[in-house]
Symmetry: C2
Subunit: 396 residues, 2 copies
C-alpha cells in the first residue's frame, strides 16, 4: 500500500518507537522517578525567560496579519534575516547579509532544503561515523548515496586519510556535526583546516564543487570555554544549518536557518533554489511568530551550566564504575563503549535496571551506546548505582 522506500523506513523506525513505548510502559509500572530514560535529545532546561517575554510582546503589540501571515519571501522576514546575519557577523567576523540567510523549519528542515537543492540522484554525501542517523534518510529523500567514513574510536575526530580516499567525482557534499551527536566531540581548528585543504584539492582534481554542510544544533553547547570554529571561514563552499532547538530549548517550535555565503559557488542560484525548495517541500516558510521571537533573543543562551553539571556527574560516575568513554566537549551526550561487543544486548540488559540508552548502531558505530544527559540531575545521581550493578554483570 505504502511506497517501497517507506516500508523499509517504517521497519527501521520501529526500534526507536519501541523504546518510546517501553519508556512509557516502564514509567507507568515503576513510577517515572524509577526509570532512567537517557534515550532522547530533548532539552530539559526551560527556554530563557526572554522567549516568553518576546512572545507576549509580539502578540500584544504586533498586527495579526504581519505576525501570522505568509512572509513575502519563502526565506523569511527580511529584517529577521538581517538581524541573524548581523549577529553572526559580530560573533564570527563574517560578512553575511539578509540574502545569505534562509529561515528554516529547524535544522532538519534546513538540511532537507539544502540536500533537495544540491543533490542529483546517485550523487554521494559523506558522513563521519558515528553520525546522527537521520542523515541517512535525508540523503535518501533525494536519491543520494550516503558514504560513511569509519569511526576513529580513539578520540572520535574524523579519519581524514579515509576521507581523502573516499571522495570521488560523485561526491556532492560532506556533512559535519560539531559539537557532535552522539560523541560530544568538537572538531579542532587543525582538523577543519586539514579537511578544507583535502576538499579543495579534490575539487581541483575532479573539477567539481564539494559542499561542506555544517549541521550546528549544538554550536552553543560547548564546555570549558572550548572554541567551535565557524566553518565558512575555512572553506568557501560551506553551508551552515542552524537550529534554536537546543540553544533556546525550542525543539518543538521548528525554527532554524541556513547560511549560504556569497563565497559558495554560484551562490545566487543556490540561494534561489533553496528558497524554492523551502516552498515546494511544503515548509513554505519557517513559522512566523518564532522567526520574530528568535530575532528578539539573539543574545540569549540556554543555561549551559545545568548540562555541564550533568556532564561532570555522569562522566565521573560512569568512569568510576569502569565504563570507557571520552569526556564530551559539547552537546549533551556521552558515547560510551559497551562492555560487550553486541551493544544491543547491552542496551537490553540495561533495561532490566530501568536504564534506557540507544545502541551505537543507530549512529553507524556498533559497540558503543549513546547516553543523553539532558535529564534531571537527580536522574543521573539515582541512576549511577544502577549503572554500577549493570557493569558488575560484566566484571564477574
Amino acid at each position: 500500500m505504502i511506497s517501497k522506500k517507506m516500508e523499509g523506513m517504517v521497519a527501521n523506525s520501529s526500534a526507536i518507537r519501541a523504546m518510546f513505548e517501553e519508556g512509557t510502559r516502564m514509567a507507568k509500572l515503576y513510577g517515572a522517578e524509577n526509570v532512567y530514560d537517557f534515550s532522547l535529545g530533548n532539552p530539559n532546561v526551560a527556554a530563557p525567560e526572554a522567549v516568553k517575554t518576546a512572545i507576549l510582546e509580539l502578540v500584544n503589540e504586533e498586527d495579526s496579519l504581519a505576525l501570522h501571515g505568509y512572509t513575502n519571501s519563502n526565506a523569511g522576514y527580511e529584517d529577521v534575516r538581517q538581524n541573524v546575519a548581523d549577529s553572526l557577523n559580530a560573533r564570527f567576523d563574517t560578512a553575511f547579509s539578509a540574502k545569505n540567510i534562509t529561515m528554516t523549519v529547524g535544522a532538519a528542515g534546513g538540511l532537507n532544503v539544502i540536500l533537495k537543492t544540491l543533490l542529483n540522484p546517485g550523487e554521494e554525501v559523506i558522513v563521519f561515523a558515528p553520525y546522527f542517523g537521520e542523515y541517512r534518510s535525508y540523503v535518501d529523500n533525494y536519491d543520494g548515496v550516503l558514504v560513511e567514513i569509519s569511526p576513529n574510536t580513539v578520540d572520535f575526530q574524523p579519519k581524514l586519510d579515509e576521507f581523502e580516499q573516499k571522495i570521488t567525482a560523485k561526491t556532492k557534499a560532506v556533512i559535519v556535526n560539531t559539537p557532535n551527536n552522539p560523541t560530544g566531540v568538537v572538531y579542532s581548528e587543525e582538523t577543519i583546516k586539514k579537511m578544507a585543504s583535502i576538499m579543495e584539492e579534490k575539487q581541483k582534481e575532479f573539477g567539481t564543487d564539494i559542499f561542506l554542510i555544517s549541521d550546528e544544533p549544538y554550536r552553543e553547547l560547548a564546555y570549558d570555554g572550548i572554541e567551535v570554529p565557524y566553518l565558512t571561514k575555512y572553506y568557501a563552499n560551506t553551508i551552515v544549518g542552524y537550529s534554536y532547538s537546543k540553544s533556546l530549548s525550542l525543539p518543538g517550535e521548528r525554527i532554524g536557518y541556513l547560511v549560504i555565503p556569497d563565497e559558495v559557488s554560484d551562490s545566487e542560484m543556490v540561494i534561489s533554489a533553496a528558497n524554492v525548495a523551502n516552498r515546494i517541500l511544503g515548509f513554505v516558510n519557517a513559522p512566523t511568530l518564532q522567526q520574530k521571537v528568535i530575532a528578539k533573543c539573539l543574545n540569549e543562551k540556554t543555561d549551559i551550566s545545568y548540562y555541564d553539571r550533568n556532564r561532570e556527574m555522569l562522566f565521573n560516575g560512569l568512569t568510576e564504575c569502569g565504563f570507557e568513554c571520552i569526556k564530551p566537549q559539547g552537546a549533551f551526550y556521552l558515547f560510551v563503549k559497551s562492555p560487550i561487543e553486541d551493544e544491543k544486548a547491552f542496551c537490553a540488559a540495561a533495561k532490566k535496571y530501568h536504564i534506557l540508552i540507544v545502541p551505537g548502531s543507530s549512529f553507524g558505530c556498533p559497540g558503543y551506546v549513546r547516553i543523553a544527559y539532558c535529564v534531571a540531575y537527580e536522574t543521573i545521581v539515582n541512576s549511577l548505582p544502577k549503572f554500577r550493578e549493570l557493569m558488575a554483570e560484566y566484571q564477574k
Copy 2:
C-alpha cells in the same frame, strides 16, 4: 551546481517572484493605495481574538518544556489530536480518534507527507484542471507523474468521463480541492458520489488502491450556506489534508493536519509511515505552540462576511464591465475568462492599470486569470474603474 530538477523549478518560479517584485516596485512608485495587487492568497482578515488569548494563556500558564519541546509522537500531542478528532466527529458525524490525526506543517506539509508515504516512482496522481500549481512540484518531489484532467469551463465541476478514462493501473492517488483554488467551486454531493463510484470500480478492475486526497484549506470559506461534503464519508480510501492558514488566518505559522481514517486500506501502516515521513522530511512535528493554540480555537472561525462582501462587489463589478466568470461558492478567488486567448498578454496589459493578477496557465488552465479577493474592500472598489478601462481596450 544545483540539482537538475531544481534548475527547472527555479526557472519556473521566477514568473511568480517577478510578480512579487513588480508589486513592490509599483507600490513604491505609485503608492500602495494605487496598486491593485490581487496576486496572492494571503488572508487579510486578522486571526480571531481567541488566537491571541490562547497564545497568551499558553505562554503564561504552561511549562516551557511541555509547550516548546518535541512531542512524544511525530504526529503531535495526543490530546490535541483527540480534540481535533472530537471536533470533526461532532461536525461531520465521523468516528475518528487521536490515532487518525497527524498534525502537520500546514496543508503543504501534510500533502508532502502523504505523497512521500504513498508514492513509488512512476506512479500517477490525477488532478483536475484548474488546480493549485504546487501539486505538480509535490508529486514530482517523490518522482510521481501528474496526470491532468482537462478543465470543464462551463461550470468547473470535474470532467468525470475523462477522469474515468485516465485512471490506470498506475494511478495511486487523486487530489481534489473543494472549495477550489482557483475557481471557488464547491464539488456537489452528486459529483462526489459519482467520483467515488468510479474510483471503487477502478480499484476492483485493477486490483489496486486509489487514494482520494482531499486538500481542504478552504473548507470553512463557503458562502450562502452551501454544504461542503466531508469526503471520508463517501469513499473509504480518503485522506484529508487540512490547514488553519485560511480558517484562522495563520498561514505563516504552518499548522494543519492529515486525517487517515481506519477505513483506509492498511490504515495502521499508512499512519505509521506518515509519522515517519513527517520526521524524515524534516518537519519532525507541527510547531508545538500552534498545535495547542488551534486546540483552544476549534470552534473559532474567520470573518467570512468580510470575504463575502468582497466577493459580491468584485463579481458584480467585473460582470458589469463585461467580464465572464462563474460566481464562486467558496475560497477567495475569482477565475475570470481572459478577453483574449493569450491570458499572459492580458495580465501584462492589466499591469498598465496597476492591476496584478495571475495567469490561468499557472493552474493548468490557460485563457483564464485568477483574481484573489482577500484584499481590502477599498482595493476592490477602487480597482473597478481600472478594470473597466482595461476591458474597454478589448471592446473597441
